[in-house]
Symmetry: C2
Subunit: 406 residues, 2 copies
């Protein structure tokens, strides 16, 4: 029998849809992966009553409750108070946490604002969880066999604190006894229906949980099973049936897989992008260590910028800014200008305006220039709104590079 | 007194975080905007028991319940059954819906699969809601003054059906009587505690709901009130107390506010960025219409690329790549190279590696070159991990530009 978990998000902004609750998805994934059966998510208002009500209900039903949000400094942040009220304990002041706050503010030559002083308080029956990634203190409460853990709602802080302080705490309490086994497969250049078709009906049975998650041109499969031998058997099947589309057996994004290969081969990349407007470069440089293999990029938005980069005016006039010829020339020019091994060039119509019957919204040409001086281009028409077209085009460009260098 | 609403998502994939619950955010936003007080979101498992339990609890507490997900054809889709079980009614077969299914499948030369036939059933006490955007039937149940509405979980179908069939139903039942008023304020260059301090304690009373939402250097305030005169009074106070930090009275992002001003003044922008690696250009070009005022950008990641752009090697050697001198030179050079009115130049240490005691992780210089040929730079040390440093630096750069041109 797996232990059970529930996730409680506190915040009017979540109830009113001002923010999308990515925290709940993150914790759902992590806790399931750890081995919990996550049986409930809930979102409640910034009110002590609402927090008490929901916490009480959850404590009757599950072993672990993750509460997030409402730990900030402003008066509407009442998670500390709500949880303390449920357990009928007062809030206590943490001198070490206050000294941490003083240090942080001192760096900026400031004293701790009165409001922020609230962030040094926690319920008397709790243990503070130090937040190395922000101001708000987290805390955990063990009550019999059950645990309540409160974390700040800022997604990056929540994520970092989960790995930094929550996971060690869960491991200590639960060990790896019931750790369910996980198999992750990441693929590019294949659609969700095609993955399912290639896996085939005979792939599936009741010995495992299967999830497939497409996002902007990449696909991840996550399989959970209780027995390692089940996963070994599945891994073989997946490798055989989807072989040439798989770029990682873990959560590595495509840009990181490319970075590893380029680093190993001591090769470099430069990009010239039009319709993606910096997104491709941004994807590559989102990873630390990119400076080893990424030389730089040009966002050639205006035609003049394309010409400055070395795309002949004649070529643009003859074929148009959105053409395979221009994509190739962008790739070649940026490769030479920036002295890189590879050059990627993108030009297209991201929309919603700017489309025509011949060159519709979503049309994107991707050029790739290689160390031997050759270059080629691919044509795609991506479906969706501006953001989706840009996302898919950037992913597709990375996919072509990956296919070339793997 | 506003009517209240709750949102119930059904699905193991949501509990396990395999998908992010954007549906809940969408409905939260729409229902709040319509005038409901959304007091609860919940996610429950694909199980009749879980649906009955949660539905029962919600029906005791709110006026409107939106249930989504679990209306598909596979055996784990049990929302129809769970809701019918709560009301102790059988499922009934809808001949018109089945004929619709037959038509859809006929288009592909197929007969309706046995599994899909389930999608023509709905609880006996419900009215079917035709889904013109997919296969699954929605339905609504009115019980006394309360309403339960079930919609498919596919985000595009949910969204389309909301406007197509749900909104007319709500309007018919509730009219526009209780439409709540909204005041939105967007600011840059001020912290959350400072906003609260400037608003002052006397700002707050019980006549309105107040929410403050910081994200990567920008801050939004959202105020909901039942009476327009309350909002008029608040708007005056906000304008007086926070005046020079406000860049929009609606949901406009900072990059769009800048775009509007540049378009109006017929001025243009080019950016040269190092540590943000394309993110700044990407923020600007995420908006359609950016081609009017955005010339292009350079991601000057490698020192050579900076030199190619016109940053003298001597300057880099003397002051280092991360220096105000280089930021200024990047801004000036990119402005001239790309022929734009303004140039932004960014150089910094995004981390996690590359920091030193003199130039720590988070240190970023932002240069701004103006049409008159002058340029200046600002120094910042941003806190957080790589992604946060990049986000905040990009926002801060936009803020300086906005302050200059507004």
């Amino acid at each position: 029998m797996k232990p059970t978990a529930a996730i409680l998000s506190v915040g009017n902004e979540v109830l009113r849809g001002s923010v999308v609750n990515t925290n709940a998805a993150f914790l759902g994934r992590e806790l399931s992966g750890f081995g919990f059966e996550v049986i409930s998510h809930a979102v409640c208002a910034d009110s002590q009553e609402a927090i008490r009500f929901r916490l009480g209900e959850m404590l009757r039903r599950v072993d672990l409750i993750m509460v997030m949000g409402g730990l900030g400094p402003t008066p509407d942040d009442v998670t500390r108070e709500g949880i303390a009220a449920h357990f009928k304990v007062p809030l206590v002041f943490s001198a070490p946490q206050f000294r941490r706050l003083q240090k942080v503010y001192k760096r900026f030559g400031k004293r701790v604002p009165l409001l922020v002083k609230r962030e040094a308080f926690y319920p008397e029956n709790a243990k503070p969880l130090i937040n190395r990634f922000g101001i708000a203190l987290g805390f955990s409460i063990e009550t019999g066999v059950k645990i309540v853990i409160a974390l700040p709602g800022v997604p990056s802080e929540l994520k970092n604190m989960y790995f930094d302080v929550v996971l060690p705490l869960l491991k200590k309490k639960y060990g790896d006894l019931f750790k369910s086994q996980k198999l992750i497969v990441r693929m590019a250049g294949i659609s969700e229906p095609d993955v399912m078709k290639k896996l085939g009906k005979d792939f599936f049975d009741d010995s495992f949980d299967f999830g497939i998650y497409p996002s902007a041109g990449e696909i991840a499969i996550r399989i959970l099973a209780d027995k390692p031998e089940v996963l070994r058997r599945l891994k073989k099947k997946v490798a055989t049936r989807l072989k040439d589309r798989i770029y990682a057996w873990d959560e590595t994004p495509l840009s990181a897989a490319i970075g590893k290969i380029l680093t190993r081969k001591r090769q470099t990349l430069a990009v010239a992008e039009s319709c993606t407007g910096g997104l491709l470069a941004s994807r590559v440089t989102a990873l630390s260590g990119a400076s080893v293999y990424f030389r730089g990029g040009v966002v050639a938005y205006h035609a003049n910028v394309k010409m400055n980069l070395g795309v002949p005016a004649k070529l643009i006039k003859e074929h148009g800014e959105v053409s395979s010829q221009v994509a190739i020339q962008l790739a070649k020019s940026v490769r030479i200008r920036m002295g890189s091994s590879f050059g990627l060039g993108l030009t297209g119509v991201a929309g919603p305006g700017g489309g025509s019957s011949k060159k519709p919204v979503g049309l994107v040409y991707i050029g790739l220039a290689s160390p031997d001086g050759t270059a080629r281009a691919w044509k795609h028409v991506f479906w969706g709104e501006r953001q989706q077209v840009q996302d898919k085009a950037a992913t597709k460009a990375l996919e072509y590079l990956w296919r070339k260098i793997r």
